[in-house]
Amino acid sequence: MPAKERKLTVARAMAEAMSQEMRIDERVFVMGEDVGPLGGVFGNTRGLFEEFGEERVRDTPISETAFMGAAVGAAADGMRPIVELMFVDFFGVCFDAIYNLMAKNTYFSGGHVNVPAVIMTSTGGGYSDGGQHSQCLYGTFAHLPGMKVVVPSNAFDAKGMMTAAIRDNSPVVYMFHKGLQGMGWLGTEAGATVNVPEEQYTVEIGKAATVSEGEDVTIVSLGMGVHHSLHAAAQLREQGVSAEVVDLRSLVPLDRDHIFNSVKKTGRLVVVDEDYRSYGVSGEIIASVVERDISILRYPPQRVAYPDIPIPFAHHMEQWALPNAEKIVAACLKAIQPDE
């Protein structure tokens, strides 16, 4: 199979990026729970232990405070740790080391200390894992200064952004969605498993991408939401509506220009976010457009976001609450021509 046609899952793309970078940069190492022989609960470190051994691929105790803190100390001392926080939901046991140290030490040191660490963490629900294993928390991480925050939606970006994240001299929080990983046991959105070049490359952090061009409405999303949005765009096309889908890819830095230019073209905005609705990504995207020029929006912007409720276990409740293509279609139609 020629290289350009090689399809990889997001999990394998992540592992490949790490492995290729570890080959050329001795300072890079991986730590976290079950990242060793198991290869990561979500498969993204598979093969690394076998290739690099237990020194550079370290299983940790269930001590997130210690190993996140250790990542800060190791990064400040010249290493380039990649640390896994197995589920983003666990951030509450170790966030101090992340948001007060990893994110701020460069600033506090006046630029004299860099903290080139990558935190990779799984997000998202949809498979009934209950309210402590299904959250996205994109807004939580993006709100606090000093960390870059990226959210790849497919394997190509996953590899390129992982390489970029490892090479970045600032801390990067790399949030991957479980439903895109390509782990059989979780079910995978097919669109996430795409062609991935064998060679190393980077996808610039801070740049959004238009993944489907359109004229009538701009759908801004990230991660799993991009796929729902693409499905919605396909359905809309059948109804004669041309939707443009923007994949944010990076929340910090946020590509405000890209969003603005798309909305300027279409005049309508729908934001799709699997994170909680209020005080998060969806509000910021909307505000960032209207504070710049409110006249470009013809009708009220719409949000398709997770409601402000904990995530219920039961399949039918959770699915009811999650964003999906149907809700996005309805929101787009409303954004285009609200019934007044």
């Binding site: 079950d34 894992d129 209950g130 219920p312 276990f313 039961a314 409740m317």
Partner: protein, 328 residues
């Protein structure tokens, strides 16, 4: 104090109910997940952590507890819930995500709450320790009967919450018992690579509280150690740490290939199945007659069958009711 005949049978029966319950859940869990295993499918979606092999810890401790006593448990909660007297029908129904479930399906297998018997559990490692300390504080402040028990794994003993909670319980001399179910694994990570000491019991000294190691995964031995700790708590003498050797006979969760286990471990553990060992011992000592045994087994089976049937036949709540109960 050694368990009475009645207590032994109580422990045996509850271990059996737990085992049978999980064996049934295990089968149902796989419905819709074959040939392709996808956690999102089937009547019971999501993660499923079974406790087979760890039943002695639950019954040995809970044999000393009443309804009023508080238990906080973990992501692997079935055996503890059953030993604590959680309503089996509502529990099964919750695991199916049904309206008649303990929480109407909002919690699920990792979030079982039964206020009637003061039981709760949760999904983050080490999360139950603080709440147990708080429940014990509540009892002390209200001068109300009842102790609190927090169950957790040996992996959780490396969380900061362990340290903080044991210290707080000790300085406030609270009626709480911390129970480690040491199954030697935290998912795929072996205790010896994660924990600086051989036995977590020694850590009790860091909080000036008794720490007892109980080897053998044996209900009677656990009963004895727990009895002392519970009495101590009830007498107002403060907290204790129990460090119990146990075995996880299955994977971390269903779908776990268990490739990380050393060769032969699984077979060895299965050969030491604590329920079979206990059954044999009870029969041999005469604490259990063959006919008692079949009565107990039948009763256990009936209870489990009824619970599962109840769950199966219960309706789902309306999807929009996902919006309910965010606030009190």
């Amino acid at each position: 104090m050694n368990p009475t005949l009645e207590q032994k049978q109580w422990m045996y029966r509850h271990m059996l109910v737990s085992r049978l319950f999980e064996e049934t859940i295990e089968k149902i869990y796989l419905e819709g997940k074959t040939p392709v295993f996808n956690m999102a499918n089937g009547p019971i979606p999501g993660e499923m952590h079974l406790s087979n092999g760890q039943e002695p810890c639950a019954v040995g401790v809970c044999a000393h507890l009443n309804k009023e006593d508080v238990v906080t448990a973990t992501h692997r909660p079935h055996h503890q819930a059953i030993a604590k007297g959680v309503d089996l029908k509502k529990m099964a129904s919750e695991i199916f995500g049904k309206e008649t479930g303990l929480s109407g399906g909002r919690g699920g297998h990792m979030h079982l709450f039964d206020a009637d018997v003061n039981f709760s559990c949760s999904g983050i490692v080490g999360q139950g320790l603080g709440p147990a300390v708080g429940a014990a504080l509540s009892r002390k402040m209200q001068n109300k009967a009842g102790v609190a028990v927090s169950f957790f794994g040996e992996g959780a003993a490396n969380q900061g919450a362990f340290h903080e909670s044991l210290n707080l319980a000790a300085v406030w001399k609270l009626p709480v018992i911390f129970v480690i179910e040491d199954n030697a694994w935290g998912i795929s990570v072996a205790k010896e690579t994660a924990t600086a000491v051989d036995r977590n019991a020694v850590r009790a000294a860091a909080y000036d509280m008794p720490g007892v190691y109980v080897p053998g995964n044996d209900p009677d031995a656990i009963f004895v150690a727990a009895g002392e700790a519970v009495s101590r708590a009830r007498a107002g003498d403060g907290p204790s740490l129990l460090d119990i050797e146990t075995y996880r006979l299955a994977g971390h969760f269903m779908g776990d290939a268990e490739a990380y286990r050393p060769e032969g471990e699984k077979e060895d553990l299965l050969s030491k199945d604590p329920i079979l060992v206990y059954e044999k011992a009870l029969l041999a000592s005469g604490d259990l007659s063959e006919s008692d045994n079949s009565d107990i087994k039948e009763r256990a089976k009936r209870e489990v069958d009824e619970a599962i049937e109840f769950a199966r036949e219960s309706p789902f709540s309306s999807p929009e009711s996902a919006l309910d109960h965010v606030f009190a």
